[in-house]
């Protein structure tokens, strides 16, 4: 079995996978981790219980199970190990996975170009999946990265936009514009595909080809939360869906804090749009600080509980941004085409002017200008153009 095969086995045993980074360092390699005896495990610091769990969990596990799922869902995998083994330049991604599919028994170390030959499709030289360098520098890098969507080496210099799942209309509107403006400057937007801010940031980022990265706390084939199904399939087409967990893994609560280090790891900077006092987004910000990256925060009303966390960040010294322009200037990135070319006709502009950056009720718009059907029509067109969002209770808010 190849090193990748060993990793594909390891990732099926949660008790082992969660410790794998540390164990690999002490025992020396995936094969050593997988084949370690109970005594060896105890010797490198596993508790009695953990060692038991690992030994029991290992029984009957084969790499094929994961490979089959990868084939079924069209996902790929890269391993941290292979990157280290073959050096920063070596292509491992697609070929590695293909090696796992095709030539699994051909030899323990053949993960590189040889297996690409066996697989018969020579994509090397063009775009491939390569373990992201920025992620390799993280304290506990994910040992495996499962991928759907575009090849991984097209993913360069992301900006994370994260925030509360219980976002306000203001927060969602900000996240959407930030997402859009960042991709228009040519940078991919990284987020966690959660409800609220994350979903809005992805949505905004879908508008340009720089793309968006969704880092999941479950398998890349699992839709969670379910209402993001459509969003997820758009991202799978135009961006990247990543996870350190093998396909089929359920969204367990424990996975989410862990995936935040990946979000931070893939990004040059983290923007927190809205976060309550205790929010997962703050974990992402902490990870970014640990990794020596910039943290930005979008201010909100001092009375809004959804902005307590972001204000805390600001007090601690995070940079305040009002728009992507601030962010790009701070990072020294040339600001291309911030103005988007959405055209509006006269009537649409009139309604747009009536709407502010604060939510306005449908009734108020109708009272001020005309007939229900007509206003509804104009608002819907504006919404479809991405200029306006509808909020709960019949309110509308301008997004840009």
């Amino acid at each position: 079995m190849s090193a990748l095969d060993y990793w594909l086995c390891i990732c099926q045993v949660p008790a082992l996978y969660s410790r794998a980074g540390g164990l690999a360092g002490k025992l020396g390699g995936a094969d050593a981790v997988w084949l370690a005896t109970r005594a060896e495990l105890r010797a490198v610091g596993c508790s009695e219980q953990a060692a038991d769990e690992i030994v029991k969990g290992r029984r009957g596990i084969r790499p094929d199970a994961v490979v089959e799922k990868l084939e079924k869902t069209g996902a790929r995998v890269v391993s941290f190990d292979a990157k280290v083994a073959t050096g920063a330049r070596g292509g491992v991604g697609n070929e590695g996975a293909r090696a796992a599919r095709v030539g699994r028994n051909e030899g323990a170390t053949a993960v590189g170009n040889r297996s690409a030959d066996i697989g018969g499709s020579a994509t090397s030289g063009e775009s491939t999946d390569r373990y992201p360098e920025s992620l390799a520098e993280v304290a506990a890098p994910p040992q495996l990265l499962f991928i759907r969507g575009r090849p991984l080496d097209q993913l360069i210099g992301g900006i994370a936009v994260v925030g509360s799942r219980r976002a306000t209309a203001y927060g969602k509107s900000m996240a959407e514009s930030l997402g859009r403006e960042i991709v228009m400057a040519g940078l991919p937007v990284v987020s966690g595909l959660a409800r609220g801010i994350d979903a809005s940031a992805h949505q905004g980022a879908l508008e340009s080809e720089a793309g968006t990265v969704a880092v999941l706390g479950c398998g890349v084939d699992i839709v969670y939360p379910p209402e993001n199904k459509r969003l997820m399939s758009s991202i799978a087409e135009a961006g990247w869906i990543l996870s350190e967990y093998p396909p089929g893994t359920a969204p367990l609560a424990a996975h989410f804090p862990a995936r935040n280090r990946i979000i931070a790891g893939l990004s040059m900077a983290v923007v927190v749009v809205e976060a309550a006092e205790k929010s997962g987004a703050l974990i992402t910000a902490d990870c970014a600080l640990d990794q020596g990256k910039e943290v930005f925060a979008v201010p909100g009303s001092v009375r809004s509980p959804q902005s307590k966390g972001t204000h805390k960040l600001l007090k601690q010294g995070a940079a305040l941004i009002e728009s992507a322009e601030d962010l790009l200037e701070y990072l020294g990135i040339p600001n291309r085409s911030m103005r988007s070319g959405v055209e509006t006709d006269e009537r649409e502009q009139e309604i747009l002017d009536r709407l502010g950056w604060e939510p306005v009720h449908l009734d108020d718009i109708v009272r001020a200008s005309g007939d229900m059907s007509e206003v509804a029509n104009t608002l819907l067109l504006l919404e479809l153009k991405g200029l306006v969002n509808k909020d709960h209770g019949g309110f509308y808010i301008r997004v840009r």
């Binding site: 219980r166 949505q203 939360p225 993001n228 059907s373 509804a376 608002l379 479809l384 019949g394 309110f395």
Partner: protein, 510 residues
Amino acid sequence: MLSVSRSATVIGLEAAPVRVEVDISVGLPAFTIVGLPDAAIREARERVRSGISNSEFDFPLKRITVNLAPGDVKKEGPSFDLPIALATLAASGFMAGERFNEYLVAGELSLTGEVKRISGALSVAAKARELGFKGVVVPRGNAEEASLIQGLRVMPVANLRDAVDFFNGAYEPPPSEVNLREISGQITDYGVDFLEVKGQEHVKRGLEVAAAGAHNVLMLGPPGSGKTMLARRLPTVMPELSFEEAVEITRIYSVAGMLGSGQQLIRTRPFRAPHHTISSAGLAGGGSSPRPGEISLSHHGILFLDELPEFGKHVLEVLRQPLEDGVVTISRASGTLTYPAEFMLISSMNPCPCGFLGYRGRSCSCTPQAVQRYRSRISGPLLDRIDIHVEVGRLPKEALVSRELGEASEEVRRRVEAARARQRERFGASRTLTNAAMEAREIRRFCTLEGTAAALLERAIDRLALSGRAYERILKVARTIADLAVEEQIGVEHVAEAIQYRALDRGGTQ
């Protein structure tokens, strides 16, 4: 001596004829009733005995046997008191029984001999007419409703004496008659009006569309936003009841015993708002002695279910058949009953468990999962039958204190009636009467979209992540909006407005 009077028992909404045979023979004094009587009928013995004595007749101290034929139909209720008493008196020779064959008799006796109101008199009268009887003898309190049946002599009696005198030919009570022209000329008064509702323009508009196409509605809004107030006013903008519809409603209320004394015809569309602790039998009807449930009491009117997710899951499931067929079928060991149940379902729910999602000035404390769970308590199949979702916001203070009045119900009703007329014309002889009732084939035929409207709908479904079930509903509602606008072709703005009424379908974007 044997004597036979004629009466009827009510099963479902229909009356079934019953022969009341009384035989008096020599023997030890006894009073036996056979023929599947219920408890109320068995107690008739006591009422009949005292009623006869207290009307200054002698109760025969002989062996009295009462048989209610046919013997295999269960009979119930106190309405057999009067026919039993009359046949008993005839059998013992106190009165003539020759005209028993010409009249159906029904009425409850009090111990004093007075004849008291019964339920279901309208059904009895309808059956009498159907079977070719000359008339009915009914309690005075039921005379008004019974006289709705044309071509039937309705003889109101106040007490047992009156009834005896009538059959003896000694007394001819003035038959109760009704002037139909006069009734239909009366103006319907609901006591409430849409103009009393301040603001909430888009909700009122949504309800207008609902009334025009007979669409079911779900209102989403925080507590205190006026959902109940709005729903209560919906009957005022619905088309005027036709005479036939009014009679149908009256008949249901008559059987349920809910008709006020002396009330002739229910001329207003019913509005029923049962509490969420109601049982499925309470909603659908039934019970050991079957009675129409709330859905039948809402026939041709509004069934308002406030706090929809609080209703029991099984309770809501019973709504599915009536929403589809317009009738509710109740099957019991004793047989199957059908009650009409053509109603508009108006339901309401909070936007989230705490009620404050999307409410300005107070933040909601629910997690997104909790909101999701709360909303998913309403089953898909039920949601499939609700075409319109409107969000009811809580009003700002300025709107509440403003003197501005809304549009009067009568004006709205005129538009609704015109739209309904267009629908009738379109559907012609087919069974479908309203846009809400259109089936897939009719939707394909009557809800075609031209270029831009079709493109808009496609884009909206994509961008707003509308669920698949939204598609047909949007088409139906767009058809109604076009009807209100007097347009043959569904336009882009009609589709746009219809999309506004799918708040609950919107996926991740909200």
